[in-house]
Symmetry: C2
Subunit: 320 residues, 2 copies
């Protein structure tokens, strides 16, 4: 691997696992994590950024290792008191987690942007890698379902992904602007672009939907490699497989490859899906078969290292 | 006692003790608690109303019996996380307490006023008496000291009342309006006005400084009785005695009587201050000597009952 930056595009829990591996495999000054902010929403008047926070908590070692989101050693006194006061209780906010939301909301109201706030929080948490929200403008994913249109967290948390999905819309995306720090890094010959094993529809697509984002990523000269979030016909976490099915596709790593076809240069699929490798290759994508189920830190680091190495090999032969 | 309303003017901890006694001594539908809101302030972008909250927690049984403020069975995870993020830690916000501040801030931003929010919170907490913030407009006490001008909570909490006070200003008081629900109650022949044993300078005076408030209270026909917060030359809680001294007065119940002279009709002083009774009477104030140190619920109820009875006796002979 040469010395350029590795830029990883990530959603929440699943993506954050690979991000943590990358933080161990790539020197901090070369790692940029771009987080999905289309899940962000206001709750109790506080600005919540679930994916960005999961990445921050994971990188800082503050994440709850059991749940994969929220903080370790969390308490829940706030939620109990809020419920007693008649407040909504469908979205759980831990007492320690609240500090981040309260601080961010206060700073946003005072005029700071999400990039500045995220930088300062990362610094306070001792995170050396660069964490960049995809943009500083509010974007909010709406999920169209057979039960009507739902805000993403309503669909994801309140309704537990039960409603059948008919489509997605990223409100505000037209006026979103690629994070300027990301644009600058893309103009500085990055080494590789990694798409973490996050939900293609609601974690990665919003990032790619920012006007100009796809062209900047494709045009930067670095190989683009996605890690499939679908393994053995199911998603390790979350509704990705269900969403593929509801869109009329078998939920397989091949469907993931088709989703990124024409954008990504290669895809990492799990050993369980070795049988799909030739079909993926037939789409014109490079394929790497690796153990992708990240059950401990070492498998995360290994997957991260091998994914970057795969990207570097692809990069050597890129013709665009 | 007849059947009119008892209206009590209260600050935080000290006043809330008498308020709790009144809640046991007076039928809920006849009790109105008017709280000082000049201590209210914004912290972390949240609207904090210390005196109103102390009254709400005390009346609902949620108050921490040891501290007298905040909630019983509180946790402090938020403050720890906030401090780790670099946030200010001089004002402690408990995790459960936060629910009230977050809910109130959200509703204020959505356009509700403090009276509506306080009513709904009191209802959710099972409080039957009426709790009214003194006004719905923001007022903020500034404490002028030999170290410069301080916001009240900076003086009270951050600086622990150490700076020598040279004066007070109630910012915003000129545009504050007497709580309309209080004005309506005052127009409906109340039985008694009780000034709780709260700090005269920073808890009671802001309420009385609202334009028109003194005239409404004096003009409603009900006797006005203050319970001295100074006992035996010192304040049971808080900086009242220090403030009297710094204003050049011996901190005694007599000084309290002089403070309310021309406004109150009578004053309740403690048995420890029996020797001051004739001097207080010489000011033209009715005097009642009672045990005023409210160390348990029964002494609060007794003091409340006897104070109301004292007021009723004074009321029979009022000539205004």
């Amino acid at each position: 691997m040469s010395g350029g930056r590795v830029i990883v595009i990530s959603g929440g829990v699943g993506g954050a696992k690979l991000v943590l591996g990358l933080a161990h495999a790539v020197p901090a000054e070369r790692l940029i994590v771009v987080t999905n902010t289309a899940d962000d929403f206001d709750h109790f008047g506080l600005r919540i950024c679930p994916d960005t926070d999961t990445v921050l908590y994971t990188l800082s070692g503050l994440a709850d290792p059991g749940k994969g989101w929220g903080r370790v050693d969390e308490t829940w006194t706030f939620m109990g008191a809020m419920k007693a006061l008649g407040g909504a209780d469908w979205f759980s906010l831990g007492d320690g987690d609240l500090a981040l939301h309260v601080l961010r909301t206060e700073r946003l109201r005072a005029g700071a942007n999400l990039t500045e706030i995220t930088r300062d929080v990362a610094t306070a948490m001792g995170i050396d890698a660069t964490v960049l929200p995809m943009c500083d403008q509010p974007v909010s994913t709406k999920v169209d379902t057979t039960q009507g249109r739902l805000a993403f967290q309503e669909y994801f948390v309140r309704e537990r992904c039960v409603p059948r999905v008919t489509g997605f819309e990223f409100n505000g995306i037209d006026t979103a602007r690629v994070n300027p720090a990301l644009a600058a890094a893309l103009a500085d010959r990055p080494e590789a672009i990694i798409i973490a094993p996050s939900n293609p529809f609601v974690s990665v697509d919003p990032i790619l939907a920012i006007p100009g984002m796809r062209d900047l990523l494709r045009g930067c000269g670095a190989p683009i490699v996605a890690v499939s979030p679908i393994v053995g016909g199911t998603a390790i976490k979350g509704p990705a497989a269900k969403m593929f099915s509801e869109a009329g596709h078998d939920p397989t790593a091949l469907a993931v490859a088709r989703h990124y076809q024409g954008f990504a240069d290669g895809i990492v699929i799990d050993e369980l899906d070795t049988g799909l490798a030739s079909d993926v290759a037939a789409l014109g994508l490079g394929v790497e078969v690796l153990p992708t189920i990240m059950c401990d830190l070492q498998t995360r680091i290994d997957l991260a290292s091998q994914t970057v190495a795969f990207a570097s090999r692809l990069g050597g032969g890129l013709e665009r």
